[in-house]
Symmetry: C2
Amino acid sequence: MSVRTIDVCVSPELVHLHEPQGKLVVVIDILRATSCMTSALANQVESITPVATLEECKVLGAQGYVTAAERDGNKMEGFDLGNSPFSYHNNAFAGKKIAVTTTNGTQAIVRSAGASDIIAGSFLNLSAVVNYIKNRPEDILLHCAGWKGKMNLEDTVYAGAIVDALKSELKHTEDSVLTALELYHSSKDNILGYLSNSSHVNRLKGKGIMKDIEYCLTKDVFDVVPVMRGGVLVKHT
Amino acid sequence: MSVRTIDVCVSPELVHLHEPQGKLVVVIDILRATSCMTSALANQVESITPVATLEECKVLGAQGYVTAAERDGNKMEGFDLGNSPFSYHNNAFAGKKIAVTTTNGTQAIVRSAGASDIIAGSFLNLSAVVNYIKNRPEDILLHCAGWKGKMNLEDTVYAGAIVDALKSELKHTEDSVLTALELYHSSKDNILGYLSNSSHVNRLKGKGIMKDIEYCLTKDVFDVVPVMRGGVLVKHT
């Protein structure tokens, strides 16, 4: 069997160049969409339906879904939840279906169409994601959600962490992979400090959610992998 | 006067998000288009006309231009030159007009439309580019040509070198700038070694042009800045 490959796409705007078709795609939006998804499913949410627009989210709300909507780091008026992983703690929404729309993360999921499998990665479930990848046969694409189409630091650092954990088993040839590895190696001893100058942390700082940021950079809180099945994210069992 | 900003775009596919309009755009294709342009103008070429297609290049050839055409690192059949900076040494084409088309660099120039000024940056003219930027009033966009729309290491490292030289004077807020700075800081003591695993160096290695690569990573060989004037690159005087 030939060695599987791992690749990093630093922005959803570039994903067509990285050919998600047939690959296992790990969608990454550390601050905070994929951290939320991990937290929600670990706290017994039944399913998460990612939608691109606020309108679609509203429609699902009318059908009984709990709605979570964020734009530019803010919870949107008229929806149940924003984009904080703490919202789901203590099984607050156990058994519920969540409809979610966010600035970047849900867009990255939509743009991963054609993948053979889509999962959500975050520091909160880093080792679970690594183990999931090890047990799959496909080539891997780490799809960073970035910020409105631009690359960002936290998603690329996380991609580097995944590559680092798998580099003895998977092959890579792209400079985006080397970039992600470099950023991870430079930051791994103090990721929060490293990201303190990043654009997104500065954006969120002003919103008083440093607690969210610190939490989203914590490794291996949950042994849970959100997997896409029939258009919704559910807990991999 | 407000502090000017500096930004890095890691791929021409993302340049619309970085708003080149009204900015001084530095186009960067270290291996090898902008290194060639610097070398050519330093060796008394009269002008360089970048064109997107082989056909346009042929048309200009019929009008008396010297033609330079590269795709995937190879010189194209039926054109005078490929993409080696050595072609222009010893004033080999002094006084000539060159029409050039390359895989990435000329595309990045085309996509910089709307800029108030476009110049070509390379390690060969690093300090000259820094000085040129210091004497201009606009915000700066460092536009990396990358490889077929994906980011690459050598262009991003060079962008980091420019930001590093100007960081006390210019403001930046984007994570792509932090990424470029990180890559430059990690590589600056041995850029050739650092890039030895990069995708493009591996691609070019197979073509036996290590001499070109080493040369293109040499700092400050020429005190020349290629500037776009009326659709052609000429030497800034």
